[in-house]
C-alpha cells in the first residue's frame, strides 16, 4: 500500500473507567482500516485492556440475559483489531509494559500481545512515522 505508515499509540488508562479507551480503540480501528501498521505501548492501567479473564454478564436493569445483552468485553474489541489487521495485511504490535503487568497481576492477556519495557517504546518511536500519547488524568 503506497501510503502505508507506522503509527504508535501509547495508552495508560484501564478499561471501563473513562472515554479515552473508547477513543483509542476507534483511532486504532481507523488506522488498521487505512492499512497502516500500528504499535501499541500499553502502560500502567492499559495493560488490563486485553486481560483474558474479562467475562460478559447479564443486565437485570434492562431485563436482558447475557446472550441478549451481547456485551463484548474490551479484550474482544482488541482481538477484533488483531483479526482486522491480519485481514488487511497490517502489522499490529501490542506491547504490555512488563512492570505494569506485574504490579497489577495482569499477566493473562489474549494472544497476540507481548511483554516489553520502555525500551520498546523508544524503538517504536524511532521506527514509526508518528506517536500519539493518550495520557491518563
Amino acid at each position: 500500500m503506497p501510503d502505508k505508515k507506522s503509527l504508535t499509540f501509547v495508552l495508560m488508562d484501564p478499561p471501563y473507567e473513562n472515554a479515552r479507551t473508547t477513543t483509542a480503540l476507534r483511532l486504532m480501528d481507523i488506522a488498521v482500516r487505512r492499512g497502516h501498521d500500528i504499535n501499541v505501548f500499553a502502560y500502567e492501567g492499559a495493560v488490563n485492556v486485553a486481560f483474558s479473564k474479562q467475562s460478559p454478564h447479564a443486565n437485570a436493569v434492562h431485563g436482558r440475559d447475557a446472550e441478549q445483552e451481547d456485551h463484548p468485553n474490551p479484550k474482544d474489541w482488541v482481538a477484533a483489531l488483531f483479526q482486522e489487521a491480519e485481514k488487511r495485511g497490517s502489522r499490529l504490535d501490542w506491547v504490555q509494559c512488563g512492570l505494569c503487568v506485574d504490579e497489577r497481576g495482569a499477566g493473562e492477556c489474549i494472544p497476540g500481545l507481548r511483554r516489553g519495557s520502555p525500551a520498546d517504546l523508544v524503538k517504536f518511536t524511532e521506527t514509526s512515522t508518528n506517536t500519539l500519547v493518550i495520557p491518563t488524568k
Partner: protein, 108 residues
C-alpha cells in the same frame, strides 16, 4: 513551519486547563504554524452554542482549524449543523490521517 494536531478531550466546564490548550493552539497559529484543534469526548461540549462558545470561536478566529468529532457530537445530541461559530464536525479519521502525515500531535 510545522503542522500541529492538538486533540482536546476535556471541556472548559470541567477543567480550567482547557483554556491553556486553546491558548497554545492560538499561539502556535499566530506564530505561523498550521494548527488543527480536534475536539473529542466531552471536549465537544463547547461546540454547542453556549457560554463557552466564544472561547472556541476565538481559537478559530486566530486561524486554527477547529474540528469536532462527529460521533462525540451525536453521542451528546449536539446538532452538527448548528455548531458554535468556527467549529466544523469531522470524522475521527482526520486525526489518523494527520498523524500519518506527520503532524506533531498532542493529546490533552
Amino acid at each position: 513551519m510545522s503542522n500541529y494536531l492538538l486533540i482536546e478531550s476535556r471541556d472548559p466546564f470541567e477543567s480550567n486547563e482547557v483554556a491553556y490548550f486553546y491558548g497554545l493552539a492560538k499561539d502556535l497559529a499566530q506564530a505561523g504554524h498550521g494548527v488543527t484543534l480536534f475536539l473529542v469526548q466531552n471536549g465537544v461540549l463547547p461546540a454547542r452554542p453556549s457560554v463557552q462558545a466564544e472561547a472556541v470561536a476565538a481559537v478559530a478566529r486566530a486561524g486554527v482549524e477547529v474540528l469536532a468529532d462527529d460521533f462525540a457530537l451525536r453521542e451528546r445530541g449536539i446538532a452538527a449543523d448548528r455548531l458554535a461559530v468556527g467549529v466544523k464536525a469531522a470524522s475521527l479519521e482526520v486525526v489518523v490521517d494527520r498523524l500519518a502525515a506527520g503532524h506533531k500531535a498532542l493529546w490533552h
